[in-house]
Subunit: 428 residues, 2 copies
């Protein structure tokens, strides 16, 4: 049996997952790809740090050159994270004719094009399954099994931290700040939670997912992004009452013309398969023009699930290294539709002073901006200010924004408490 | 651009799906596999039958020899169904060095070994994604993306007809016969529904799924099989009350030692992702020792979804025909555990004459057979016979059967109205 040697960049959570999987599943790996896969060098910043894995001390190095110049290393696996020096190391590894596997979503979302082009020019493979939805093999499925489909829509719960927070808020009726605090205590959320709760992480993943699904180079900066910090238990209650759950969705649509790429909290019908994806789980729902509706569900993070995706990529390269392919279908520079042009339904909650005629005034402003309403809820009259809740029919975002401005000019209107987009259910 | 020619055996539902996908998604296919894929011959039984697809008349033939002897045809796609002559044609096509794609679950479940061996000996590829769960790419995912995992468990809703029936029964509270009748009227169920409602179709698919997942040659006849015809609205009501849904599950487990392979109606916790898979949808839930819990959801039948899986296989062959691989990991002849040795929880509903002491007598019989109980429901006292419902702790099937025999010997016991196995929820 031949042996394939790996240079591992980074030995954090994912790195140790990879190490443990290669060891525990040695027999399966040998059987399934016909080669023994061995980590022969590990790049770390600090050689003296104590680590939880049983890798021999002499595998560690703090000099990338040791991996780059080792001709026996055919595959470099980058799980160090961050933009630099990860980007530089990947490009140099490819320059030295090594295949590369990466789990680095921020890097691929922002510098994917450069990396894909380098891989192509050097005739090496670049795979990055672990960068989206952790252990769920969604990228390879789109690339391989759905290669005969036109993917028209992807909708993903791709950030476990925010899904945990929203699930917990819905279950216990508590507010965002308390749940975030608890998630931080449990280690589900970072001390600086910005990347998760503001939707940056989900937007990185959507950039990668959309680029592959729609065969386009999509620029990360063109993805609309909105986080979950404004979601309140009140909104979650209204959602339930109206038959919806609130999820942070990464949505991409390609129905001809400009594509849609947006990350925002979303009302999703309770009977939609995404609605019951709870806790830290991830799921990606997609529509192919042949396969119809498809959903993948699983763990989006963690040493072993993410390691599983990386090991799957390594084995893919091992099997295909004599018949390599390029894992990017990006043929077009597709344009992302400006958010103002996007059409969907909206949930809008407005705080008003409880005076006669205010509902009529607001309804008129909606009408003047070409927004038509499908439901209105008005409740309780015990407080001087009350909530008015509207669900619109399909409307252009631009018209909604105009309506919001006009509604704010009404004297009795205290504030637009929230505005959340609504997606439809599964076609039957 | 090169062209790859296909010989299509059969032009029914799936055949026309394949034809339409190859036409509609011509550009995607060319882009993703680098070849034009063309159906150049179509084998049908009756040349004079009118068909819904726009294939030119001169592609049709009723003589398999026309495809076999056409050296330009590199791939034979078998979607004719049935055992013979499908088996013979597949083997002869391989003998003539053609790659083969098949959607024929009954054939692969019963003659897979012979076909895999022929493919290997002739150095051709044999792919069969469409044979399990229609459009859902579960086989390729297990084979490729999860190749670095030991799959420990698969649980699938792999028969759309029975899932439709059970969903409808649960929703409307109606009995099996009425829903079956309605499903037949709608075309969701065959006039002879045996293969579906008795679980044969699910058992075929489980044989294929388990063989691939566990790297074993599994004999179809060793798969335990039980259908849904005994499920009543009463059982579904009790399930709901206890926090479960009833689904026909195809279950395979490989936790060391003999494997489990069984198809039967199953209580599944309402918060399990499989519980909310409704109507004709299919889903496969699996546990890998690295990736953890994973679920795939989608359409298990229909021209386009099933065609999508076949086209995915065709493209896989086109991309790999110079670097072929074998799509069967079957290395062992694993033994299936006798059903008597299987351990799980049980829901048991017993009809008894409502006399004092009967519950005590039954409970003693359970105890004598080493079956311990976790819940008991006794309801209503208006009728001479009443239902007693038990949920057991984990018990050996053999002990359960012994207990049932002993319980039947109690005078006040009228009948064992139902016995349904219970599976646990997702590990958190």
């Amino acid at each position: 049996m031949g042996k394939v040697k790996i240079g591992l960049l980074g030995m954090g959570t994912v790195g140790s997952g990879i190490w443990n999987i290669l060891k525990t599943n040695r027999d399966e790996i040998l059987r399934n790809c016909g080669y023994e896969v061995e980590v022969s060098r590990i790049l770390v910043q600090n050689l003296n740090r104590k680590r939880d894995v049983d890798a021999p001390a002499d595998l560690y190095t703090d000099d990338f050159q040791d991996i780059l110049e080792d001709d026996e290393i055919e595959i470099v696996v980058e799980v160090m994270g961050g933009i630099e020096p990860a980007r530089e190391y990947i490009l140099r590894a490819m320059e030295a004719n090594k295949h590369v596997v990466s789990a680095n979503k921020a890097l691929i979302a922002s510098h994917g094009k450069e990396i894909f082009e380098k891989a192509k020019s050097k005739n090496v493979m670049f795979l990055y399954e672990a960068s989206v939805a952790g252990g769920i093999p969604v990228l390879s499925t789109i690339r391989e099994s759905l290669a005969g489909n036109k993917v028209e829509e992807v909708m993903g719960i791709v950030n476990g931290t925010t899904n945990y927070i929203l699930t917990k808020m819905a279950k216990d009726g508590v507010d965002f700040d308390s749940v975030l605090k608890e998630a931080q205590d449990k280690g589900y959320a970072e001390l600086d939670p910005t990347a998760d709760v503001e939707g940056y992480d989900a937007a990185h993943k959507l950039t990668i997912l959309g680029s592959l699904s729609f065969g386009a180079n999509i620029d990360f900066s063109s993805v609309y992004r909105e986080g979950i910090i404004n979601i309140t238990p009140t909104d979650i209650e209204y959602a339930k009452e109206l038959g919806y759950a609130i999820k942070l969705l990464a949505i991409g649509k390609d129905r001809g013309g400009d594509i849609e790429m947006r990350v925002h909290p979303t009302f999703i019908p309770l009977d939609h398969p995404l609605a019951s994806v709870g806790d830290v789980f991830n799921a990606v729902f997609l529509k192919g023009n042949a396969v119809g509706d498809l959903m993948f569900y699983g763990r989006g993070a963690g040493d072993m699930p993410t390691g599983s995706a990386v090991v799957g990529d390594i084995m893919d390269i091992v099997k295909n290294k004599d018949n390599i392919y390029y894992a990017s279908n990006s043929v077009d520079e597709k344009t992302v539709k400006p958010m103002e042009e996007t059409v969907c339904k909206y949930y809008i909650r407005i705080m008003v002073k409880d005076k006669p005629g205010v509902l009529g005034k607001i309804a008129s402003k909606f009408g003047e901006s070409n927004v038509s309403l499908s439901s209105v809820i008005q409740k309780g009259r015990k407080t001087p200010t009350v909530s008015l809740v509207f669900i619109t029919h399909n409307s252009k975002e631009g018209n909604i924004r105009k309506a919001m401005n006009n509604i704010l000019s009404i004297d009795e209107v205290v504030e637009i408490a929230n505005l959340i987009r609504v997606e439809n259910g599964v076609d039957e």
